[in-house]
Amino acid sequence: MKLEKISKQISKWFDGRGPHSEIVISSRIRLARNIAGYEFLPRLKPERQAEILEKLKSAILSVNVGEEVFFIDVAASSELEQDLMVERHLISHRHARGKGPRGAVIAGTEAFTAMINEEDHLRLQVFKNGLQLTECLAEINKIDDEIEKQVEYAFSPKYGYFTACPTNLGTGIRVSVMLHLPALKMTGQIEKFFNATSDTDLAVRGLFGEGTEAIGDFFQLSNQITLGVSETEIVEEFTNDIVPRIIDYETLAREELLSSQKAVLDDKIQRAMGLLKSARLISSQEALFLLSNVRLGVNLGRIKDIDISTVNELFMLTQPAHLQINNNKILDSEQRDIVRAEIIRKRLSQK
């Protein structure tokens, strides 16, 4: 069982390295595809759904993605295993709790995943650390080309790649960057960021935790429009315009905080460290919030004896399904808070 192996590791895209990684945690590109001649999921009979699963599974497994991949039968996985994959961003919550035959092909380093029979027949995803959307696009295109040699995608010249939801129609592409914007949040400017994106063609949501709530100053920014704009145009706009400006803005806010409110900043960072190092019970929400402050401290050089990958590792390993799978037992919420506090305490005290 490969999931147990990956549950202890840190995903490659989350190792804290990569271009602009002090602000841009990771880049992700997703492509939505459907097979010609088959109904979309809401109208797909179980036996046809099983056919698609087999077809796509063998097509994807035959593609060389540059590393070892493995298949997971999502429908046959336990809820805990499903949750683990969701926590690691390998599959969506919708896919985890979906209906009928469905599965995922996952690369060992988690840089590539394919969801079969999610909202569309196929959802390919490529992840990289830092700001690397151009690289993500090149890679996902190659994989998509290889799969396309074996199956016929539903496509029309007018509408492009057909998708179950018209919001993905055309390129079927969703380009996202995961951002850590603590200084914009602390200086109260994050609301402006939200307001600005709410009337535009960008969507912002949280990176961790349930639903759309952004916890711990992490934000996911993605494109909304998929029709009439090419993949390259979207990626270029993100890479050359939108993301660099947000980076500048957050950097400026961090510099301002350092020069005019150093004590307040240090207090926040050191209090977070103090709590994490000594607490005996920590909820996942509190952990996210405190770790976010520590991450800022490390990035600003205010904390010197811990590196970003340790902080990132703690974000990942302290999520509920991770705690339970890595401890080989079901834990209720209070037990989880105890184990979580223990892991964090140990990890942060190591020198």
């Binding site: 129609l169 402006k192 535009t200 429009i225 029709l227 704009v229 993949e231």
Partner: protein, 167 residues
Amino acid sequence: MQCQRCKDQTATIHLTEINNGQRQETHLCEMCAEHEGLAIKSQIPLNELLSTLLASQSSPKEQPVAEVAAEDEKSCSSCGMTMREFQKGRLLGCANDYEELADSLEPIIEKNQGGNTTHKGKVPANAPEDSKKQIKILNLRRELEDAVENEDYENAAQIRDRIEHLQ
């Protein structure tokens, strides 16, 4: 939240100060905060920045939503999907729906896709030659529109010739 100083604008600057163990929160609007010397002066206003960046993308045109009862009941001959069902589940039943329910779907697509209605970008390598040609023509038509809009008639004439050649 209202600004504590002017009691008019929305407070966007939230300052928490701890003096001698006493926690004090201040909520101010940007102008008041600046007045009090609290705000960090923004050198690049983010909202302005994003709206300029995105103004280059066409904004969604206002479209009356086609909600004629008869249209809602029309169903796809391949999968039986109706607009009524789509509006509930937000998902379509098959690729044919795009063709058969086009009258009702088009405005929805246009609204969700920033006014765009035709594909631009990747084409499957194994798409029939016919479709590839169609896409070329569609892309050229778009270029032609842009050229005319920019009053670049020389370029427009060339594009028109290329379209005629393809047809």
